[in-house]
Symmetry: C2
Subunit: 194 residues, 2 copies
């Protein structure tokens, strides 16, 4: 039955997701996932060719469940680009902890695995799109600081909001998400808005 097949697939995705979050993306083996999903290790390979394929599929699955795209789109409907920017930082800063483990694992895999790199870039795509919209909005409203071309500002803002930056501030510096949002907002407001 295809519903049974689907159930196993979903069980694997859920197990992968849960384990990645529990262990912050580190030390999650295929055998751990199999155990958590209640199937044999080899059965995973009936659904996903490689570990990387599984992680990419899990990332897509999580995106669907969590719906970052939608959250960001709502943000974009703010009255002004400045409001959108503030809301954007807030949504993103609060979203990262929900996907931290999986993102971390995907990022690590990216170093050695081409396919993981592609999957990562796709995940980060909507963030970059959001930055582009906001910068273009700022510019249209005449509030983009004169130092910046739109293209440069987009890339700098996207980098400031990167997963790695979020991680360094919260994990290495011990900031709360609220502090991250407050101070990152301050930085980008000063840095890009006039």
């Amino acid at each position: 039955m295809s519903s049974n097949e689907k159930n196993t697939r979903i069980k694997i995705l859920d197990a992968t997701w849960k384990l990645m979050e529990d262990r912050r993306g580190l030390g999650v083996r295929m055998s751990d996932i199999a155990k958590a999903a209640g199937i044999s290790r080899q059965a995973i390979y009936l659904h996903f060719d490689t570990r990387t394929v599984l992680m990419s599929a899990t990332a897509i699955y999580v995106d669907e469940v969590k719906g970052l795209d939608e959250r960001l789109k709502i943000v974009m409907s703010a009255a002004t680009a400045v409001d959108a920017l503030k809301a954007f930082v807030n949504v993103w800063g609060n979203y990262v902890p929900e996907i931290y483990g999986l993102a971390k694992a995907l990022l690590a895999a990216r170093e050695t695995d081409e396919a993981a790199g592609v999957a990562w870039d796709e995940r980060m795509g909507c963030l970059r799109d959001g930055c582009r919209e906001i910068i273009s909005g700022l510019d249209a409203e005449g509030r983009l600081a004169p130092e910046w071309t739109q293209a440069d500002a987009v890339e700098m803002l996207w980098t400031a909001l990167s997963f790695q930056t979020w991680e360094q501030l919260t994990v290495d510096c011990g900031w709360s998400v609220d502090n991250y949002v407050r101070h990152m907002t301050a930085l980008v407001m000063r840095g890009f808005v006039v």
Copy 2:
């Protein structure tokens, strides 16, 4: 003879460094290093207990040869904190490509290896110290933007100047080092200085 022992050690460190830079920190095996150093794979373990120990030792070796500390100290002698900040971004931005491969490898190892994490934190220490001095100088000169406490500004500046940020802008966004320096300077000047 102890000079012979030292020679082999240095040969290993040089080989490690060179390979890390050549391969941008990825896919460098102990056997590759041995081959490049002209010794047997097992002989490496006569000098370095583990791969991580070797990488940490190489990082220290590179630091000695390249002398980031000294370069940064010269920067600190600038007339004003603002000048120091600009020079700091310039020195750091131009320094990273010289240590990219090794830094990348150490950063990757950090995820699974406690000792690598310590080694990384030590390497990043002088950067953080520099940020602290600059922010405290800005504050003393009354030019730190009012949004910031010194502690918060130090951590945010340190994060803005992180290896990962440098990497995202130059590798992922394709910026030249000159562009990195110019735009990062613009961001931190706007973000922190008043």
